[in-house]
Amino acid sequence: MNDDPDAFTLGPLQAGPPCCEPQPLIQVRNLTLHYDGKTALDNVSLDIYKGCITALIGPSGCGKTSFLSAINRMTDLIPCCGIDGRILVDNQDIHHRDCDVQALRRRIGMVFQKPAPFPLSIRRNIALPLNEHGVTQKKEVAAITETVLRDVGLWGEVCDRLDASALSLSGGQQQRLCIARALALNPEILLMDEPCSALDPIASGVVEDLICRLQGRYTIVIVTHNLAQARRIANYAAFFWVRERTGQLVEFGRCRHIFESPREALTAAYVNGARG
């Protein structure tokens, strides 16, 4: 392990491989989502490409977070939520009855809008999910803890107080700990629901840099209201809009196309700030 506490194990900024030959990892087909019988998201089909960052943009209430939650079946936790259509991860239907939800969520990590560390020590925050997924060797847990804390650039800040409560960290540090906790399970996909919106601009910048660093190694789907951020970090963008209280996918494509030469007039109006 590198002795320099500030060294990132993922290498320098924006070191991910370019997404020139996209391979779909998640295929969403005709996804319709209801809450209490009311349609929240209507007939969405799109591909999420391996190793790329896909940003979901659009106004509040257009179903971005619902779409994100459907990918790792967090929607199962909402009693009145119903889903039609198919979501394939690596060509396997996640709603198939043989699909193990806990294993699925291990493959697909999630980071929430508000940092939500457990009220445990920093060390235990990372060790608890590892223990529950069968990694119990103390040495192995310690090694993974160090690696992921280095990955999120938190090692140098917390290496001498791993036994302090995670709640004593600042908001930005807590959010990076949550990302580290998700990375510890070695997921393929990371879902991020506005991970910077509860943070101040400096902490937000640190987390944004971190997301760029993760590009290539993980497939990232990020919901963001910050269009400039989406433009800076994403390879692909999906623009959602709400019509008659129902969310719809308006346009999906390479980030550059969505922002510079969108096909739809609505997309152009939204990204230029004329609508939304």
């Binding site: 967090m74 936790l77 806990q102 969520r105 999630m110 939500a116 457990f118 009220p119 445990l120 399970l185």
Partner: protein, 288 residues
């Protein structure tokens, strides 16, 4: 922005009066508590001694001590807690974690608990006597007294535990689920430790109520002031002893005072112990 001096003075006076009334209310509440404590201490201190705690009562309680009464009280309490805690806390977990809050099942369970909480203790006593003492053949015993108390504690323990579990932020549950943790793991490692202070507070209210109970025990654990040999022996609880000494035994006032003082001391000790345990559990969870 530029208000008159008179208006300002009037506002100041109103603030002062409101604050004064609030302080007065607080003083009155504290006064009642201190009056009770001082009165108990003045009447009971002279009689309270090591011998009083270690001897059995003689001459209907006028002489001797309260050793057998203390043992009976603690045994009844133990039986009640051992029977009530698993039932109450499992019910609370079911209501708070597994059943949707607005489901008809949850609502009917909650409604029956509310009704149970409102039942007068003498009715519990009669029920305990009919069911545990006569129908199950346990007779007048510490066991039937403890089980009757357990029925009384169920609604208190369940509703405080449910409120405590509901107060745990949903973000813990969501994060745990997103990390692929099972419901049991989330419950044992995160949600129960986070709710520990609320569980302890509920337990304290329950223990307070159990220690103070007289009517329900009159018909179930009985009246005998001998040292109990087993849980199937009859035993007199401390609250019942105080009631008997002050109402039925002429010349028993001093012993009654000392017993009451002992009851309050016992309650305070249990309070402090439970608080320490809950705090310790939380600390331990953070440090390991």
């Amino acid at each position: 922005m530029f208000e008159s001096a008179a208006l300002r003075t009037r506002r100041k006076i109103r603030d002062c009066v409101a604050q004064g009334l609030i302080y007065l209310a607080v003083m009155l509440v504290s006064l009642v508590f201190f009056w009770l404590l001082v009165d108990l201490a003045r009447g009971g201190m002279t009689h309270l001694s090591w011998a009083f705690l270690t001897e059995s009562p003689r001459d209907a309680g006028r002489a001797g001590g309260i050793a057998s009464i203390l043992v009976s009280t603690l045994l009844i309490l133990l039986v009640a807690l051992v029977a009530a805690i698993p039932l109450a806390w499992s019910t609370a977990i079911l209501l708070a974690e597994l059943v949707p809050a607005e489901s008809s099942f949850g609502r009917s369970v909650r409604f029956s608990l509310h009704v149970l909480a409102g039942v007068p203790s003498i009715v519990f006593g009669l029920f305990g006597n009919a069911f545990f003492s006569i129908y199950l053949g346990l007779g007048f015993s510490i066991l039937s007294g403890g089980l009757t108390l357990a029925c009384m504690l169920l609604p208190i323990l369940t509703s405080t535990a449910e409120a405590g579990l509901r107060a745990v932020p949903d973000s813990y549950r969501l994060s745990a689920a997103a990390l692929g943790l099972s419901r049991t793991a989330a419950l044992t490692h995160l949600i129960l430790p986070a709710a520990a202070p609320a569980l302890a507070a509920g337990l304290l209210i329950g223990i307070g109520r159990a220690l103070a109970e007289t009517a329900a025990l009159l018909f179930t654990s009985g009246y005998v002031d001998r040292m109990p040999g087993s849980l199937l022996d009859s035993g007199r609880a401390l609250a019942l002893h105080i009631f008997d000494l002050s109402m039925n035994v002429p010349g028993g006032d001093e012993s009654a005072y000392a017993s009451a003082l002992m009851l309050v001391i016992l309650l305070l000790c249990i309070n402090i112990l439970a608080m320490k345990l809950a705090y310790g559990l939380q600390r331990k969870k953070i440090m390991t």
